[in-house]
Symmetry: C2
Subunit: 185 residues, 2 copies
Amino acid sequence: MRSRNKLAVREAIGEAALRLAVEQGPGALKVVRVADIASAAGVAPRTYNNYFSSREEAICAVHAGQARRLGKALRARPAGESFVDAVVAAVVETFATPEPDRAGLAMIMRTPELQGEALKAFTMAEEPLAEAIAERTGVTAGDLTCQVRAAAIAGAVRVAGRHWLDTTSPPPFATVLRAALKSVL
Amino acid sequence: MRSRNKLAVREAIGEAALRLAVEQGPGALKVVRVADIASAAGVAPRTYNNYFSSREEAICAVHAGQARRLGKALRARPAGESFVDAVVAAVVETFATPEPDRAGLAMIMRTPELQGEALKAFTMAEEPLAEAIAERTGVTAGDLTCQVRAAAIAGAVRVAGRHWLDTTSPPPFATVLRAALKSVL
DNA sequence: CGGCTAGATGCGTGTCACGCACATAGTGCG
DNA sequence: CGCACTATGTGCGTGACACGCATCTAGCCG
């Protein structure tokens, strides 16, 4: 336990929380107790509470981490690429590589008690994304346009996810993402 | 008490919760107890719980109601108006008429524990907005493009709010809203 | 006028977040 | 080489809360 650094412990708890929630399916929040999450992650209940102050936060932590990487992904695109292509590529490699887990995504996006935390996770991705957009388009950081574009992109990803979940015969998520992004770029 | 209908009671509780939270300023969630909200609204603590299952939800209820009216506002625009003009007008009259209360908005958008619920409130506005957009542009409801555009508009409103709060000398909120919407329409 | 329903309220219970104190591993300094 | 010091995990106790259940009251309809 002590050998794992803080980030690793946080990840372990988050993954355990999400896994248990998905196993229990709908209504998981009523069944999965803090003690369950803690023991599944190999920590004491009190320790879980040092990292997260609610089960919702823990369950959404892994997706929050994924969303936070979007800005970095955009920065990593080659400079010669057009802005639109770079954003699409960054989004696809961040959210559709590998293909997301339908059960986990459904749990997070369709459970009312988790929606707030999930939206918060998506929204936290906007700030680094806006900075990356500002850098790439050569405007000053904190520009209103960049933040609006970042919010639009994040919103498109979210809507694409909802659409993808509603579809019974699943096309590749990347296809839905590209279609959604086409409307805002 | 019994004379007020359910909606009125809900509104009374929501307003009381927001008012108390704003009065206490930052850290209000630690100070404002359920009993305080209930007594301020003139109901029993158990009754508050029949309407809301968390203080966050109660505090954000008034803004949720405001956001939910956006779709209706768009439908109410004259048919001859261009799509862009109609959206801008609907947004401005929904969110900037009258000029919002800075303290209340700051409380909701800047308190971490409230952000999730606030984002949920904004997101709930997207569905009726998407339907109104579909109706006005003549495409089938549930179209991906409409939902993405609705999300982009809601995101622009949210970013505009954040920007408006960060500005020390406040321009009219409608001005910021128009600037933000220009980037996504 | 009597039963009926919706809504408000009280009470009890299980869960939770968090402050506080302690134990212990890893670390730098003399 | 040993010693304090710090960071982190953990146990315990407390206050608050969400919610199920039972009750009561007001208003309504026949």
